[in-house]
């Protein structure tokens, strides 16, 4: 047997170990597997490569993709990643650890999760946050389940038609198999309509509503009156929000929301073709015991020192099995660390600058696009970094022309609008260059 760098066994080791066990061969250890099921053929896999060959293989594959200047959002945003972050998250003590089951040798993980929870509470204004979710859309699905679990006997959850398509799709998938009824709150003038919400509440079966803080057209929602209307009907308000924008925008708590969910990818996580990202979930004190997932709490050790532990575990699958609040166990812990380091570096001033720069760049692009005469306004409502326009040219052709010139923008919406997004990474020169390309687009 030739050596393989991940298997340390020498032939002599194997012989001695088999002797200790009292069998003659490795195959004897699999004698309990019925012979029909022991795979006898050659696996249809590539030949084993050396490390250098693996590196060259992936370099070749990487070269078959095109990295574009990103002027699009729709759930994945191109914010800057400070170099400290990957340096910290690749420390093997964080990277190669399991879920912190043995708290005495996992204080590193437990502390950063506690910090993450604190930061999520701070951004959302809510009382309690969990240790993270898979991503934004699945966090929204958990919010839907939490509404129904809290309401008892009510089985309808309302979704704003302004939620991103992938959020709606995932929530719909979860709802279908959980037997939860979903209904849509209409948009009016590109914003989630309070009148539509009130009309839907008439049914008396509504357990809660999930509404975006910033909708899929980039518009900042005015949620005045939403919480009152829902609470008056015995239902909860869950806000789907961008945590980066929450550094400046009115918080879910200030809107009167009971639950906040979203994707924290906007906090410096690279696009990476859609993952890994990290979802978050926070709620008011009243709903703490219905929150899914891991929660870290402060404790004292037997010598009185401050330490951190997994707590409130009576909600969880390994204790409660089918009666758990969710099936989720561990999820995106290292990405929670990523976000925690990001927010530590940025601080209040950095987060303000990220939003100010994104705002300025997005509004500069918005004005230039209108000047080309190839777009029409769809709304006068305020936006931050993402916005929609009605194209007067063929939208698909526009996206293709941009793509060929090295830009990714003009994402088509279901109304036939196109959206653009500008983060603090985009420069005036890049925007001007893209505008030059758009000017050349013919109808």
């Amino acid at each position: 047997m030739p050596g393989f760098c991940y298997f340390p066994h020498t032939e002599e080791d194997i012989r001695e170990m088999l002797r200790k066990i009292g069998v003659d061969s490795l195959d004897d250890l699999n004698a309990d597997i019925p012979a029909d099921f022991v795979y006898k053929g050659e696996y249809d896999l590539p030949d084993a490569l050396s490390e250098q060959q693996v590196r060259e293989f992936f370099e070749g594959l990487a070269a078959k993709n095109t990295t574009l200047k990103v002027f699009a959002g729709a759930g994945a945003y191109d914010h800057y990643t400070p170099s400290v972050i990957p340096y910290i998250t690749s420390r093997s003590e964080f990277l190669t650890a399991y879920t912190p089951y043995q708290c005495e040798i996992s204080q590193g993980t437990l502390r950063y999760i506690f910090e993450f929870q604190s930061l999520v509470c701070s951004l959302t204004g809510l009382d309690v946050a969990n240790a993270s979710m898979y991503d934004g859309p699945t966090a929204a699905a958990e919010a839907m389940r939490m509404c129904v679990a809290s309401a008892r006997k009510k089985n309808t959850v309302l979704l704003s038609a302004g939620l991103l398509p992938n959020v709606r799709k995932v929530v719909e998938t979860y709802a279908k198999y959980s037997g939860i009824n979903l209904e849509y709150i209409a948009l009016k003038d590109c914003r989630t309509s309070l009148d539509s919400l009130k009309a839907l509440l008439e049914s008396g079966d509504v357990a809660g509503a999930i509404v975006p803080g910033i909708n899929r057209l980039g518009i900042i929602e005015d949620l005045s009156g939403f919480a009152d209307a829902l609470h008056g009907a015995g239902a909860l308000l869950a806000e789907y929000c961008d945590p980066s924008a929450l550094a400046v925008l009115k918080t879910p708590a200030e809107w009167g929301a009971d639950i906040a969910v979203g994707d924290a990818q906007t906090l410096g996580i690279p696009l990476c073709y859609g993952g890994p990202y990290v979802g978050f979930m926070a709620c008011t004190q009243a709903h703490m015991r219905k929150l899914p997932g891991r929660i870290v709490g402060e404790a004292r050790d037997s010598q009185g020192r401050r330490c951190f532990v997994l707590t409130l575990q009576a909600r969880e699958q390994h204790i409660r099995r089918e009666k758990a609040t969710s099936n989720i166990c561990s999820n995106q812990s290292l990405m929670a660390l990523w976000v925690t380091v990001y927010l530590s570096l940025m601080g209040p001033q950095g987060m303000k600058e990220v939003n100010d720069l994104s705002y300025a760049g997005a509004h500069y692009l918005y004005d230039r696009l209108l000047e080309t005469g190839k777009f029409r306004k769809v709304s006068d409502a305020p936006f931050l970094k993402e916005f929609a326009l009605e194209p007067l040219v063929d939208a698909k052709a526009l996206q293709n022309v941009l793509c060929e010139a090295g830009f990714f923008g003009a994402l088509l919406t279901e109304e036939g609008y196109v959206t653009f997004c500008v983060t603090e990474k985009r420069t005036k020169e890049e925007i001007d260059a893209m505008i030059d390309v758009i000017k050349e687009v013919r109808e």
Partner: protein, 472 residues
Amino acid sequence: MKYYDKLIFELSRKGRCGYSLPEQQFPGVTGALPAELLREKPALLPEVSEVDVVRHYTNLSQMNFGVDTGFYPLGSCTMKYNPKINEEIAAMPAFGGLHPLQPECTLEGVKEIYDAMEKSLAAITGMKHFTFKPCAGAHGELTGLMIMREYHMRRGDTARVKVIVPDSAHGTNPASAAVCGLQIVVVKSKEDGLVDVEDLKPLLGPDVAGIMMTNPNTLGLFERDIKQIAALVHEAGGLLYYDGANMNPLLGVARPGDMGFDIMHLNLHKTFSTPHGGGGPGSGPVGVCDKLGDIVKSLQTSAFNGNFGVILRAYAYILMLGRQNIKMAGKLATLNANYIKESLKDAYKLPIESVCKHEFVFDGLINDGGTEEKHGATTLDVAKRLLDYGYHAPTIYFPLLFHQAMMIEPTETESKETLDAFIDVMHKIAAEAAEDPAILQEAPHNAPITRPDETAAARKPILKYQDEALQS
């Protein structure tokens, strides 16, 4: 490892900063967001310098134990070595900058990776089609059960609302089934730890959607009656779900698809060497047999196309393994587990005497040192004492079939020397328990902290940082 007591908030000084952003001018942009849309109370974010951040998190990391720190025999978690080339590949900037909604023509390399992964996993498991959307094992289970339900729904067979789960199953199995709107029916295990086929038979009927099996099961035992179980379940119109948490011993040995399983998930962070990250990001791709191919591709259960960064790592591992090395992977995992089991059964209770696969379960110490006056040492105490000797503890108090369960999984990447040293320490701990269980009961003695008061922490939960001004 040394105790370090700070939280990042406690390092904060007003006016300090740890970021660097460009000065940018966008001429002609005036105005700002209306005040009624802005937050009134500023967010409590730390104000720290870059070096503060680096030192703080480096200090935190030094209170953590990972696979790179030492042996991690945590049962059912497959804590194998995480190759470094995988990290290099996943960190390549050429992958990091790709937007998930980019036009397909700009993503040919990405498509090739997903296709190659699907083909490789199909070869390894005997399944036909895979989805990579699930972000974790539990997420894969849920997706797999949705596929099971969808299959029955599409056939108009809506009465199938029950799923059978063995009493030895991982806690996620019943939890995932409940989230998927299924009722759980428990099938018992026999004395020998295997599913009781006679107990299963009367449970099967027109209301059963399927069965969830872990094979080898959580006791590390291969379910020898799987052929008969598959035939019975299929005959009753149900489907078989394979919980891939325990796939590692079958890597290069046997394929769930050949055993009659219709749906399965894999944990790329277990079987395919990607790091656990302190609890994620993982990846839980779901594979299905041919007839479920349409359904598996149609379900959107996460934001985009799953954890691409994790899939890259796993494919790098598959390329290193290749068809040559895979043949030894599962066999060596099984060898290591049996070697520990046989070496320690003189000091720890082995409830089921049998060859195991990648893991096995002890039911506590043979001599726990207990007398009429004093309590003996428990499995928890053994686990905590192991930390003193520089090992991670096994999985404890699971499966629920035994009161003092201690589930040990060494994986194939550990050498005989590592196992021998662990065996010595486990014997030493058993001797300490017999002599004076208090040594174990007060352990750990030299970890960064001693045992916490978890009851007090749950009674008055403190779940976020509150500065002194807020507390007063």
